[in-house]
């Protein structure tokens, strides 16, 4: 018997009913939600990845003619299609965006030009691209090379000479910089130390004459170092001057000329002649510079090494502080404190700390750590440096402590939970065998709860590394001249301000004046920050898994 439509539909209804009764729709719903969540996450990572990864690729430099006959030269960075409104009027004209470089000549880096005005697109193999120390990129033609203002090469021979002389000039400049940074830094540290000693002695003497046996060597050392400083400075200046001797004469496509010292050219290349392989090489060299290099041009160019360094160091200090604090507090709350309204209240307070906006922690850190504790340290131990503050201003220590405070509830809660999860029987077994409470805690409870504690620390680190608002007022700077860790005694400079990738993103992304040029860099930095957080996390996750396995097999 064939199914009548009616019975078919009742059949379907029954099946739907069955489906509903079985609850399959919830499985599909939850599966869909999982898919959506995963999609969001993967999509986000993908977006950052795609936007950030193209940053280093040396694209071809394109020449085109505009309607008025003037040529335009640059990398095509974006384009938009025409959009009409319902009445047929043009809302948006079809346009192409060029990065023309030479900011100091034009006053801008990028320009949108109507597609209709552009014609005769071509790729001129002779076009050169400079990545410069200042003013960003330059695209144009190489007209010659000058040595001390005199031309030594014409357009035909210039490229070869440039290739030959540029590394030399860069090397000279680097040497000058090295002297400035290392040798002068050392001399300077000594001058400061001697000056400080004199200042302290003078203050102690309160107007009386100083003991010449004490004073004279110091003065001598001062004079010696001063002389050495002058000598080094001259040396560095000479090197710098020598580095500037060779200069490239370049011209923009519309005929403006400019000389660029070879030492100021970070990279010189002819993108239109490069093979894919060469471009890939350039890509990696740029990526490496980004990771290891120093920032330039108020952080919109160059590398982010100080920021990477600062982020990692700060996260590590924070973890070192937050772990014992959180664990001890959790053990106290769970094992030692009398359970009652007080402990319940403390728990509620700790939970609610998460509801306190992180900027409030920053303000607290500024008021408590920086002004109160830091100011106190300055008055007690560094009165001679005042009014220039040493610890009484934001620094990596205070930023780390503020973040530790921000994340300590994470560790407390995670630890508490993992302690609570240790079964009663195990503890009782330990106690029954004659172990004391402390022995039980250390030998039985703590090992079993280590994975949970580590989970807490992971989450704390993850949160800490990504937090920006509280750091902004407790020690993060846009540009820190020195790393918090270096070769000068006492090596670890906890009072120094530092750079941070999160703040770097915030700063370059929201406050950079040349945002168009800097935007890809923001994505790249984002990628880097995520990578660092992931690496720190993976490390902790691996550690957790390792410990977990160990105790899983070893427990029974």
């Amino acid at each position: 018997m064939s199914h009548s439509p009616l019975s078919q539909s009742t059949n379907a209804a029954r099946r739907i009913g069955q489906f509903l009764r079985r609850g399959d729709q919830f499985i599909w719903l939850s599966g869909g939600a999982m898919g959506l969540a995963a999609l969001l996450i993967v999509g986000l990572l993908g977006l950052v990845f795609v936007s950030g990864f193209t940053f280093f690729w040396p694209y071809n430099v394109v020449t085109a003619d505009r309607a008025d006959g003037t040529p335009v030269l640059g990398v095509i960075t974006n384009s938009q299609e025409e959009r009409l409104d319902p009445a047929g009027n043009v809302m948006k004209a079809a346009q192409t965006q060029f990065k023309v470089g030479a900011r100091e000549l034009y006053g801008f880096d990028f320009i949108w030009i109507k597609k209709a005005e552009l014609s005769n697109f071509r790729v001129d193999p002779e076009v050169i691209a400079f990545e410069r120390q200042e003013y960003g990129d330059f695209y144009g033609l190489l007209h010659g090379i000058e040595y001390k203002g005199k031309p030594v090469a014409d357009a035909a021979t210039a490229w070869a000479l440039l290739q030959e002389k540029r590394p030399e000039a860069r090397d000279l400049a680097a040497r000058a910089k090295k002297i400035q940074r290392d040798a002068i830094g050392e001399v300077n540290a000594e001058i400061q130390r001697a000056n400080l000693k004199l200042k302290v002695a003078r203050r102690k003497a309160a107007g009386a004459a100083l003991d010449p046996a004490f004073e004279n060597p110091l003065k001598e050392s001062l004079a010696r170092n001063q002389a050495r400083y002058e000598q080094l400075r001259l040396e560095a200046e000479a090197l710098s001057a020598q580095a500037e001797e060779y200069a490239a004469v370049v011209g923009t496509v519309d005929g403006q000329r400019k000389t660029v010292p070879l030492a100021a050219i970070v990279r010189a290349f002819r993108p239109n002649q490069m093979s894919k392989l060469e471009k890939l090489g350039m890509y990696f060299s740029r990526a490496a510079e980004f990771v290891y290099g120093e920032p330039r041009e108020s952080n919109t160019e160059g590398g982010v090494w100080p920021a990477i360094f600062g982020t990692v160091i700060m996260t590590l200090i924070m973890s070192i502080v937050v772990t014992p604090f959180g664990v001890v507090a959790a053990f106290y709350l769970r094992e030692y404190a009398k359970q009652g309204p007080f402990v319940r209240m403390v728990r509620i307070a700790i939970n609610n700390l998460a509801g306190v906006p992180s900027i409030v922690f920053g303000v607290f850190g500024l008021g408590f750590f920086v002004y109160f504790i830091g100011g106190g340290i300055d008055r007690m131990f560094f009165p001679d440096m005042l009014p220039t503050p040493t610890y009484g201003t934001g620094g990596i220590l205070w930023a780390s402590l503020t973040l530790a405070l921000l994340t300590v509830p994470v560790v407390i809660v995670a630890t508490e939970e993992s302690i609570a999860a240790v079964p009663r029987g195990t503890r009782e077994g330990s106690l029954a065998l004659g172990a004391s409470k402390f022995q039980t805690l250390v030998n039985v409870v703590l090992p079993a709860s280590v994975p949970g504690i580590l989970t807490g620390v992971i989450l704390a680190m993850a949160r800490g590394a990504g937090e920006v608002a509280p750091l902004m007022i407790t020690g993060v700077v846009k540009l820190a001249p020195e790393l918090p860790l270096d070769g000068h005694f006492p090596f670890f400079h906890l009072d120094r301000k530092f750079m941070h990738l999160g703040f770097h993103i915030y700063d370059v992304g929201f406050q950079s004046p040349n945002i168009e040029a800097a935007k890809p860099m923001v994505f790249t930095t984002t990628l880097l920050l995520i990578a660092i957080v992931v690496i720190l996390n993976l490390f902790a996750i691996r550690l957790r898994d390792h410990i977990r396995k160990k105790y899983q097999t070893g427990a029974f």
């Binding site: 609850g23 939850s30 869909g32 939600a33 999982m34 959506l36 969540a37 996450i41 977006l47 950052v48 001890v328 507090a329 769970r334 094992e335 030692y336 359970q339 319940r344 403390v346 700790i350 939970n351 609610n352 998460a354 509801g355 306190v356 992180s358 900027i359 409030v360 607290f364 008021g367 809660v413 995670a414 508490e416 939970e417 609570a420 999860a421 079964p423 009663r424 029987g425 106690l431 004391s436 402390f438 022995q439 949970g452 989970t455 807490g456 989450l459 990504g466 920006v468 509280p470 992304g509 935007k519 984002t526 995520i530 996390n537 993976l538 996750i541 105790y551 899983q552 070893g554 029974f556």
Partner: protein, 648 residues
């Protein structure tokens, strides 16, 4: 975080079997020391963590501290003979000198506040212009500019100058001085000046208005070091004697009050010849002033009322706005004799004929201070830094008080009430905390902030809760363990995605994208969408939920800590974890058969110690117990610890 009940704290039995006395003593000692150590440091850490609340409280409390005043001295003013002699009274910003214009003597006297016997006198007369008889004087609340009217129809503009020298040892020395900036012939026919008023705009130009004895009004602009422009007359029929006139710093809005209970309003830029509006008042105005910003009028009446009025639009594009009563302040027991606005905030001082002095704050309609001086208040001076008040009564007694009033603008009503702010057409909840200059009226209504926070949270949760909960259900109950092992860390890592990255993407990538997709209609719902999407990115961490619904997992409730985003924090009230945790109750009940406890147990994190059969039994029992919890777990007794759900 509720109290635990699964594993109550245990304590070592008092009488542990002693195996070796020596060892046990050491063990005991260590145990004891550890006890003390953990307790002290535990409490210490809790205290440090609690400090942040103390800190917030300490910062917030002073906001609600009432104003304080303290009398410094009360004595007869040097050189005082008759009340009419003192035309204006002033106080410099360091409160080192007080000064007054002595009309008949044609001088300004500076009296040192510390030692009142030290008086310096500067003459207002010059060689070229020997003896104008001064009839009126007015001092601006800021920058110590003075306008004087003479008996022969002229206006003299002067400035009190205070030269500050600073020395490391002796500190600050203030030396007073007076400079005559110029004079204007206001009434060429030589009529005496009855009232004069002076304002200064941002460029430093001075705007003045004056009334002659016969009721003629002129206004004009005076620029230092430039030949004075002739004043322009103001037309219009006025009834009664003028008791006050004020003009704003744009030389546009002019108000004149008369003893016949009338108030006249001009917009001089539009019409100099006739008043724009005339208002009938119930009582004659005895004191008339502009509040700082020259928007709101302060009026003191013969019956002791003090009111502030300002313009409210009648039509949307009105430029000329008729004024209306906005704020009424505490009524004084006698006629108002003097109003002295603050030069820095929306506060002002009023004095009455019975000697009462009130310090009011306009925005919140509050009277911050009230005290009495010996006689009818004749002159008032409010120091530029708002830290001192000086009153002179008709008996010539000076009353000098210091004032501590750091937060006049904060009151319960200012934070939560609907207030009528200057320039607004109706009372409203507004948050606008800062302006470019001092005359900005700060608006601190918390209502928009609260609503915005809730709105952000709502939009965020609207999306985040279902996605996160259902994703968590799926991960914990249906997903293949191997896939889960991969997805969970991925999502844990997502929790670590810096908030600044989310903000950057939401603001710079997502918002424009939504605009492009939504086209012309997108503008309105876009912001919620961005918040929502941000919240989703921030809050969709199924791993957290997965833990919660997976019995025995630990990291669950800690996960929520990690969701700290400063930019999108609003989307995350503390109630979220609870909601999230309540839902899994359903999941476990309904789908329990789908996963065998033992199987689940095997891949549970950190459960090395749980292999104990006893524990497993305990665990099953609790699972079953949980399964009997009524649907959704929402009916669970409130006091039952919620954190329990994490562990089951």
């Amino acid at each position: 975080m509720p109290a635990p009940d699964s594993t109550p704290p245990f304590s070592a039995p008092r009488r542990a079997p002693l195996v070796n006395k020596k060892v046990s003593r050491r063990v005991k000692l260590i145990d004891r020391a550890a006890d003390i150590f953990v307790r002290t440091s535990g409490i210490g850490i809790v205290v440090i963590v609690a400090l942040i609340f103390v800190f917030i409280g300490m910062e917030a409390l002073p906001l609600f501290r009432p104003a304080q005043q303290q009398q410094v001295f009360r004595e007869k003013m040097p050189g005082f003979n008759a009340p009419e002699q003192v035309l204006a009274l002033g106080l410099d910003e360091y409160e080192s000198h007080l000064y007054y214009v002595d009309g008949p003597a044609r001088v300004v006297r500076f009296i040192e506040a510390e030692d009142r016997a030290k008086v310096e006198t500067f003459s207002l007369a010059t060689v070229r212009d020997p003896a104008p008889q001064f009839t009126v004087a007015y001092r601006t609340p800021t920058r110590e500019k003075i306008i004087l009217g003479t008996a022969d129809g002229r206006l003299v503009i002067a400035a009190a100058k205070f030269q500050v020298t600073y020395d490391e040892h002796t500190g600050r020395t203030v030396k007073p001085g007076l400079s005559r900036l110029g004079q204007i012939t206001a009434f060429a026919d030589g009529q005496p000046v009855r009232h004069a008023y002076l304002r200064q705009n941002a460029n430093g130009d001075l705007i003045y208005a004056a009334v002659a004895a016969d009721g003629r009004i002129v206004t004009g602009k005076f620029i230092e070091d430039e030949p004075p422009e002739d004043p322009l007359p103001v037309g219009g029929e006025i009834s009664g004697n003028i008791t006050g006139l004020i003009v704003d710093y744009e030389n546009n809005r002019l108000f004149v009050a008369t003893d016949s209970r009338k108030l006249y309003q001009w917009y001089l830029d539009y019409d100099r010849e006739a008043p724009f509006r005339v208002y009938d008042l119930t009582s004659p105005v005895t004191a008339l002033e502009y509040l700082i910003g020259d928007t709101a009028l302060l009026m003191g009446f013969a019956d002791g009322r003090v009111e502030s009025w300002f313009g409210v639009r009648e039509a949307e594009d009105d430029v000329r706005k008729p004024i209306q009563l906005i704020h009424s302040f505490q009524r004084l027991p006698a006629a108002v004799t003097r109003i002295q606005p603050s030069g820095r905030d929306k506060g002002f001082v009023v004095g009455a004929a019975d000697g009462t002095v009130n310090l009011n704050f306009s925005t919140s309609e509050r009277t911050l201070l009230r005290y009495r001086v010996d006689g009818p208040v004749q002159q008032l001076a409010y120091s530029p830094k708002l830290t001192a008040l000086l009153a002179l009564d008709t008996g010539g007694r000076l009353d000098f008080r210091t004032i501590d009033n750091p937060h006049p603008e904060i009151s319960f009503k200012a934070l939560f009430g609907k207030l009528h702010y200057e320039g607004y057409d109706e009372p409203d909840y507004v948050w606008q905390s800062t302006g470019g200059t001092d005359d900005f009226e700060a608006k601190f209504s918390l209502v928009p902030l609260i609503i915005g926070t809730l709105k952000g949270a709502f939009y965020g949760l609207l999306f985040a809760i279902p996605v996160a909960v259902f994703a968590a259900l799926y991960t914990s109950q249906f997903m293949h363990p191997s896939l889960r092992a991969f997805l969970k860390p991925l999502i844990e890592i997502m929790a670590a995605l810096p908030s600044v990255v989310i903000g950057f993407l939401a603001g710079l990538w997502l918002a424009p994208l939504l605009e492009q997709v939504g086209g012309r209609h997108a503008a309105a719902p876009r912001r919620p969408l961005v918040v929502l999407a941000g919240a989703v990115l921030r809050n969709t961490r199924p791993a957290a939920g997965a833990d919660a619904s997976q019995p025995g997992a630990r990291s669950c409730s800690s996960c929520r800590w990690s969701s700290g985003s400063s930019l999108l924090r609003r989307a995350r009230p503390s109630s979220r974890p609870r909601l999230r945790r309540r839902l899994p109750g359903l999941a476990v009940r309904r789908h329990r058969p789908a996963v065998r406890p033992a199987q689940r147990h095997r891949r549970r994190p950190g459960d090395g110690l749980r292999g104990h059969p006893d524990h497993l039994h305990h665990f099953r029992g609790r699972l079953l117990q949980r399964a009997q919890v009524p649907a959704l777990g929402l009916a669970r007794p409130r006091r039952q610890p919620l954190a329990d759900g994490d562990r089951v």
